[in-house]
């Protein structure tokens, strides 16, 4: 676990190929929750929490249960990695269900503020995307968890930036046809273009 291995994963996940702005994943919560900074922060933390644990659990399941479940006996070459997406979805859904119950118990206001977007994390392609990328790139469990956590932080960073810009856009006189989602998409586009500047940062 040398710095040379760690750096490309962390900087790569947060800045260079940011899960939202470079890989264009998880756009619907990105547009939906970024009206207010507080809810954006709440959503960012929730997604980072879910991504970290789901990357860990999915990496463990993938390496021990799906790759070669039984090393001995007649089913030695049984390879279940084809079913990884199904398993990942089940894992993420149950994790989100647990987070929802905990959040309803402990921070009711955040639960109401996030509203429909909290259960929507299950179908959030950023979370599933991180799990899939981990499995496809064949990283170790610890590296996958770090990648999951960093891409979660990347999502939270992009959401934070975007929410603060949208809060300022609310005070400006945008023409009627561009108000709401359309101005958000244009802003996200320009932000993504700016993030392309980091291309090639990680060799």
């Amino acid at each position: 676990m040398t710095i040379a291995e760690l750096l490309p994963v962390t900087v790569g996940a947060v800045l260079v190929n940011n899960i939202v702005l470079s890989r264009i994943l998880g756009i619907c919560p990105f547009l939906g929750v970024s009206k207010k900074l507080k809810t954006a922060l709440g959503m960012g933390c929730a997604v980072t929490f879910v991504m970290t644990i789901s990357s860990f659990v999915t990496a463990v399941l993938y390496h021990f249960l799906l790759k070669q479940p039984l090393t001995a006996g007649s089913f030695k070459n049984l390879d279940l990695s084809f079913a990884r997406t199904l398993v990942f979805i089940v894992v993420i859904a149950s994790l989100v269900q647990i987070v929802e119950i905990l959040m309803q118990k402990f921070s009711k206001s955040l639960y109401q503020a996030l509203g429909i977007y909290l259960p929507l994390i299950t179908t959030n392609c950023a979370v599933l995307g991180a799990a899939e990328l981990n499995a496809a790139s064949g990283r170790g469990i610890i590296l996958s968890t770090i990648y999951g956590c960093c891409s979660g932080l990347g999502f939270a960073l992009a959401l934070l930036l975007f929410a603060s810009i949208r809060e300022r856009l609310e005070l400006s006189r945008i023409p009627k046809i561009f108000q709401g989602a359309s101005i958000a998409l244009v802003t996200a586009g320009i932000l993504a273009m700016a993030f392309m500047g980091f291309a090639g940062l990680v060799k």
């Binding site: 603060s164 300022r168 273009m193 700016a194 500047g197 291309a199 090639g200």
Partner: protein, 373 residues
């Protein structure tokens, strides 16, 4: 004037008034129906929006002259096409959206000139027009016009042209040789930054770029590169003019330049040979033009002084990271747009404390200190 005829002969006028007065003086009273009724204040100081933009264009004049000097007619062609299309798009948008024309605040013309300054003189016409469209319509007008756009229009258009039409944007002509000998053949096509990047990649030394001959040439501006970027001298004259006229505050350009200087000297200290010296980085590429004219664009830079310094440091770091480690040779526009995205957060974090703020927060009343006499 509905003046009333009144004889004014009263004794208590002092001597100076009497000599002025003729024997009967027709008293004129103001016409009450043509008075302006408005709440206070009733006086205004300082230049208006239009005048400020004109002053900034005036401060850009040295850079424009330098670019015309070094790149001749091509530079003029790009300048005219970009500025004209920027003004045309703004006029069209106002006509379509039914608002009254906002051309008289000269912001479209300023954006056009700045955009032209960022492109090379061989840029084809369609790229200039597309850049103008992105700068005026997408980066400014759909956000509601001047003052509402979160990103600097010229920087956004520059990035779009750089990522969109990369081929057209990276062909740089050799400058007309006025002060120095024609530049060596190895440097003709690429900008000094691009050349330095390829030299360090191939392992050849970068000492040539630190030699005083090259530094003088870069300072005067006789190197290949975009229109306004090459001549550091012209931009410095314009920049100091802007600060003297109190249109921009000095904090943003100075913090950018200091951060770049610190970062580059650190990199040279730890891993020498990867990149040329501090002066090279300051004089080449779009750093000075970006620091004085684009980063200090009032609309997209933080409001407070503290925020300006943080904004400058952020740009400085991002420019060096992209230039030294990233694949793009010139990172100034990316750094500006990225930090523009952070400006609302910076304004929220380093906002100034109201008068006696700590007392409001802690609820205690200021103790009676401060002696008399």
């Amino acid at each position: 004037m509905n003046g009333k005829k009144v004889d004014l002969m009263s004794d208590n006028m002092d001597k100076k008034e009497l000599t002025e007065k003729s024997e009967t003086q027709r008293i004129i009273l103001p016409d009450p129906t043509r008075l302006i009724l408005s709440p206070s204040p009733h006086i205004q100081t300082g230049p208006g929006t239009g005048k400020i933009m004109l002053l900034v264009i005036a401060c850009l004049a040295p850079a424009i002259v330098a670019s015309l000097m070094f790149f001749g007619l091509h530079a003029l062609r790009v300048l005219v096409i970009t500025t004209a299309s920027c003004a045309a798009f703004e006029y069209l948008w106002n006509r379509i959206s039914g608002r009254k024309s906002t051309l008289n605040d000269f912001s479209a013309i300023l954006t056009g000139i700045l955009l032209a300054m960022n492109t090379s003189s061989l840029t084809p016409a369609w790229v200039c027009v597309a850049g103008a469209f992105i700068a005026i319509i997408i980066a400014k007008q759909i956000y509601g016009g001047l003052g509402q756009n979160p990103f600097n229009p010229a920087a956004v258009a520059r990035i779009a042209m750089l990522t969109g039409a990369a081929g057209a944007m990276t062909r740089f002509p050799a400058p007309n040789s006025i002060f120095f000998a024609p530049i060596p053949d190895a440097l003709t096509t690429a900008t000094p930054l691009g050349a330095a990047e390829s030299f360090s990649a191939m392992g050849k030394g970068v000492e040539y770029f630190n030699s005083s001959a090259f530094l003088w040439r870069a300072f005067i501006g006789e190197t290949s590169g975009s229109l306004g970027e090459t001549s550091a001298l012209a931009i410095l004259i314009g920049g100091i003019g802007l600060i003297a006229l109190r249109i921009i505050r000095w904090h943003i350009p100075v913090s950018i330049i200091c951060t770049v200087a610190v970062f580059v000297s650190l990199v040279n200290h730890f891993s020498p040979g990867t990149t040329p010296g501090v002066l090279f980085h300051l004089f080449s590429g779009g750093l000075l033009l970006g620091a004085f004219f684009m980063a200090t664009d009032m609309v997209t830079s933080p409001v407070t002084v503290k925020g300006g310094i943080v904004f400058g440091i952020g740009i400085g770091i991002l420019v060096c990271v992209i230039r030294i480690y990233g694949s793009y040779p010139e990172g100034m526009s990316f750094a500006i747009v990225l930090m523009n995205a952070l400006v609302p957060l910076i304004d929220k974090v380093c906002y100034i404390r109201p008068f006696g703020h700590q007392n409001i927060k802690s609820g205690r009343i200021e103790p009676r200190r401060g002696e008399i006499k």
